[in-house]
């Protein structure tokens, strides 16, 4: 099992605020890794740093053994490292099928090769994935008219459509109703097992992340507090203290 993503001593500051300090983590190929921590602990900052939205000040980020910390967002995405957003982002004025079509790998090629129609393979795949997330009947509706939870599912389907090697999910269950959450977890696991997508998931819902992830990293105040299996992290008194603010 090879290391797909390796973050070493990543530090990111905004003015005087240290959002990430010497954060190191590894994600193995085929894994589902979790990233937890109280609000403001630097989880999303770390995501942004990994995908190139704001480069780290020092340290290194390696994807498939290659340094990517100096690359831009689209370049990193084309290598197969794709993220979803905490504030769900879909193309609101386009319908679901169009959202899926433009997320396919062939949409990332140069502009001249975009001047062609849609391959039937892409459309079949789009249908399958929309089916997979349960949006098949809504596929001709404007994505902006879907409910928040449905938009989350659509964004997830779009991410899968782009056939990433590593998918970073920023709170996939936030704002999704409890019934739907079970379905979503099921789909995350299936995407991992059947489609072979490695996942790194930020999640606040402990029940979800403890069941889902094989390895968990806990951040607090921008630093790594604990790393290990769900059991180890959950039983770590420092983690409990960080979350509850009480001295155990």
């Amino acid at each position: 099992m090879s290391v797909l993503l390796k973050v070493e001593n990543a530090t990111k500051t905004f003015g005087g605020v240290v959002a990430n300090r010497n954060v190191s983590l590894e994600v193995n190929e085929g894994d589902i890794a979790g990233l937890i921590g109280p609000n403001g602990s630097g989880k999303t900052t770390l995501f942004n740093s990994i995908v190139g939205a704001h480069p780290i000040d020092s340290g290194s980020v390696q994807f498939e053994g290659q340094e990517i910390s100096k690359l831009t967002v689209p370049v990193i995405a084309r290598r197969g490292l794709v993220r979803t957003f905490q504030q769900t982002r879909i193309y609101a004025e386009m319908n679901c099928v169009e959202n899926m079509r433009i997320s396919a790998p062939d949409a990332r090629s140069s502009v001249l090769s975009l001047l062609s129609g849609f391959s039937s393979q892409v459309d079949v795949r789009a249908e399958e994935l929309l089916d997979f997330v349960g949006l098949a009947s809504k596929r001709f509706l404007r994505a902006g008219s879907l409910s928040f939870g449905q938009q989350k599912l659509l964004e997830f389907a779009m991410a899968l459509m782009s056939e990433p090697k590593l998918l970073l999910l920023d709170e996939p269950t936030a704002g999704v109703n409890p019934t739907l959450i079970n379905g979503l977890i099921d789909r995350l696991v299936r995407a991992n097992k059947e489609l072979g997508v490695t996942l790194l998931v930020i999640e606040h819902n402990m029940r979800v992340i403890m069941n889902l992830a094989e390895h968990i990293t806990c951040l607090a105040h921008g630093e790594v507090l604990a790393q290990g299996s769900p059991q180890e992290v959950r039983d770590n008194p420092i983690v409990v203290e960080a979350y509850l603010g009480a001295s155990a």
């Binding site: 939205a53 689209p74 982002r89 004025e93 079509r101 990332r108 090629s109 975009l114 849609f118």
Partner: protein, 322 residues
């Protein structure tokens, strides 16, 4: 609508466009201007509607086209029609190239900053052309005259401009039906997301501007010859009239739709001409009120409002699988 109905509607409309200058010869020049307005609205909408980049500087490419064509016609010494053909080709190429070069810089600006930046482009170009002796400076340029021994000048330009409008429409329609069209919409809806999904946004945006500039450049070359005089600020880089109208027409008809700009251009041009005819002296006031009315009551335009009321006409429906 069945296919037969559709085909007969399109065929009928096309036929009407062909015979219009014969039916109403006194309006031939006005109808030619109408097709220019259609080109204006369609090309503006590529960026403003489909891609969500409100450009107030597209008039730049129109002006460049007008001058480029006229300069070649003046200096090459070809006969009128050959000169015009070469001039139009040059106008198209030059406008597109400038759009690509500008695109890599300007299209990095987003939202209001892009709008303001492009506004500056048009004004700057007008000032430069107005002070540059090679293109006649403030006194403008007069393109070569249509051969006097030949009749049908008005018809000639009518059909050229109609062909240009038709070509613009068909090319854009084809483009919007490709992955490129979807990429434009994706950039409009959420450019950060498009980047995060790996789309080559810089290339896509510049290419879109170049396509828009291509047709505007030809339109400029034709308009210069049609009007017979290229004034740097009132014709070529007429930001306050043509430059604003192209935005309004697209908004009036419905931004980001294929037919919206066409409908908007027709409605706007006819209204404007009626104002000139029946409200002379007050035509500017009426036009101003119309503009305010459009922005306040039809922010989504004719087709946009229709889409809001009747989404199912635009294919938005829940589809249950059997």
């Amino acid at each position: 609508m069945t296919n037969v109905q559709k085909a007969s509607l399109i065929g009928g409309g096309f036929f009407l466009c062909l015979v219009a200058p014969f039916l109403m010869p006194q309006f031939a020049t006005q109808l030619t201007m109408l097709w220019l307005m259609v080109v204006f609205a369609l090309t503006w909408d590529t960026l403003g509607g489909q891609m969500g980049y409100n450009s107030f500087g597209n008039i730049l490419f129109f002006g460049i086209g007008a001058y480029a064509c006229a300069v070649l016609q003046r200096d090459l010494g070809l006969d009128y029609f050959a000169g015009l053909a070469v001039g139009l080709l040059f106008a198209a190429v030059l406008s597109s190239l400038i759009a690509i070069v500008l695109g890599f810089g300007m299209l990095g600006l987003r939202g209001h900053y892009f709008a303001i930046g492009t506004l500056g482009l048009g004004i700057a170009a007008g000032e430069i052309a107005g002070g540059w002796d090679y293109v006649g400076a403030g006194s403008g340029m007069v393109p070569p005259l249509y051969p006097t021994d030949l009749a049908g000048r008005e018809l000639f330009f009518y059909f050229l401009m109609f062909a240009l409008a038709l070509a613009t429409f068909l090319v854009l329609r084809a483009l919007y039906a490709t992955k490129f069209g979807l990429a434009l919409n994706a950039i409009r809806d959420d450019e950060d997301k498009a980047e995060a999904m790996g789309l080559q946004t810089t290339q896509i945006k510049s290419f879109a501007w170049a396509v828009s500039a291509l047709f505007l450049g030809i339109g400029g070359g034709l308009a210069g010859n049609l009007l017979g005089f290229i004034d740097p600020r009132d014709v070529a880089f007429a930001g306050a009239t043509f430059g604003v109208w192209m935005v309004l027409m697209a908004i009036l008809g419905g931004k980001g739709t294929l037919w919206g700009p066409v409908i908007g251009a027709v409605v706007f041009h006819i209204t404007q001409e009626l104002f000139w005819t029946y409200l002379l002296g007050w035509q500017r006031v009426a036009l101003g009120l119309l503009i305010v009315g459009i922005v306040v009551f039809f922010p989504n335009g004719i087709l946009g409002t229709l889409r809001e009321r009747r989404p199912e006409w635009f294919g938005e429906k829940v589809e249950e699988r059997a």
